[in-house]
Amino acid sequence: MKNRHYFEGKIQPFEDIPLSQDTIALYLQEGCLEQLKGIESSRKSPFQVTFKCNRCLSKNPYHFATHYCLRCSGYCTYCRNCIRMGKISSCTQLIIWKGPRSEVQPESSLTWKGTLSDLQQQALEEWKGSIATGKSHMIHAVCGAGKTEIMFGALQLMRSRGERVAIACPRTDVILELAPRLQQAFKSLRIDVLYGGSEKPIGLADLTLATTHQLFRFHKAFNHVIIDEADAFPYSADATLVAAVEKSLVSGGFIHYVSATPSKHLHTDRKSLLAKRFHGHPLPVPRFQKALSYKKHLTRQKVPPVLDKWIAYQLEMERPFLIFFPTVRMLEDFPGNMERVHAEHPFRKELVQQLRDGKIKGLCTTTILERGITISNLQIAVVGTEQPIFTEQALIQIAGRAGRSAEFPTGDVVFFHNGVTEDMRRAKSAIERLNMQ
């Protein structure tokens, strides 16, 4: 069928398909397509109706709202969870592909010419073994171990077996950083990069790189989904995202995880651990520094003296530095004219690039920059580390920003706090434990 690429692997509303209504109706009659109701409702008791969105599979009653719909002249329920990708309401018809799947041409097209370290090679072999025997795999690699390079090898194997792969990550920043590296490594492949506000390409690409939210759009499309940084918010906190990943897999597909800080609820058949960075140097161990009245100083528009000293030292040594804050409010109120970035900052990418190029000396940020950033010789300070937003995983990731290049394998990581928390202690001991191995 010549129009198969419009439908295969996707779940999309009737109106979004760029074909005429008659053509779609014909395909529906032939049985190649199936029509689903956008929102399914079921009545549990005379007073209680539950809804389910067929695109994002959410069942949370907070995600649904009902209003009088002019389109169908009746009361319609719509899903607020995935409304950013277009409204799905009761009168929307979702179209999925039911016909045969197209064959993927088995080919190996890795154009990356680097070499892996022994540890990386070993992890890759283990992962390849899992793929060959049909098992899901987790790569637990410390920050800066070279996870992406290991991924290249695994992707090549999956491609040569004629299987479809998607790489998903909860963070757009990580996707944007990964995309050019992946395209560089697989020059001949069509790689679709999907994130909020990106273009919607037609058909399935050879490789799909998407935020986990964008996987809502897929239905039985991939044999493998590799989830990078699976412990990051919002994937860790949103059950519908987990369901979306499962929905995007063909039956019998596999979810692989690649993470520096895997949380306990991620289950795979096999695991491999990379405890050393690619340059072989140990991870920088964070040090705790008391800043007992930092809140008082900040409310009085003063920089806490210990932090002031630390910044002055970094400026003197001419090293780039990042200061993490627990809240956007505290970030905005921080005295001085240092550049600051948070989730809603329009020029986040540009500022990080400026820091990398040495155009700005330091940057204030929230946990948004905790992962996916590689800047040579970066120094790290965390203010208010005792706040609950800095979990063990977040702190390990933050500490992992330092000493990532072979040229400068060490870096200063300071946690300014007014009381050591369990998370801080666990993060530190986890890093020390990895260094011992």
Binding site: A65, H67, C76, R84, K87
Partner: protein
Amino acid sequence: MKCLLCDRQLMRDTWSSLFTGKQDCVCKSCRASFNKIASSPERRYVKGTELEGALDSIFCFYSYNSSMQNYFQRYKGEGDHILHLVFSKELRLREPCVPIPSYQDSSFKRSFCHVDELFCGNNLLHLLKKTTSIKQSSRNLAQRIQSSNPFELLPGAQVPEKIVLIDDIFTTGVTMNQAAAILKKHGAKQVHGICLVETLEKNDETETRKGIKL
């Protein structure tokens, strides 16, 4: 309850909210991000044209800023209907009011009529009909002023003497004045306008205004 705009958990229900039913549907920081002005903006654009004086007065509640832009993007653009609750408590008027209609097809596409829903809970009088599908936001100022009146009176509508016109966004005032002119032609004596948002006037009048992209 969660905040409708940022999904953060709202304050726990208090005894007073339980009895009075008064609980805001958005959190304090979202509410504070809107810039309340409660002003009567003056527009010189319609001066000297036949529309001058069609509208007797105009009142706006908020000024247009980035969070308001975000709000309209979600409410009008994405069609998140429940967001009409965010301002519905403030938009209670005593008199019956006449909403500025949108073109039938566009409200059909959105599946609800955004001005009507924004002012829900009021006594709405549907008197007007829009005959073109062209959006004001796609035109510049000169085009807006020169444009022919897109409104028509609905057949069989009874026009009262005093009328309150309502709309969501007030930019140049051309739309409001056009609607008011039609109503005055058919027997209205006083036409007052009420809008949720006014976009701030640029000093340079000759500059082509792009309006609000939604």
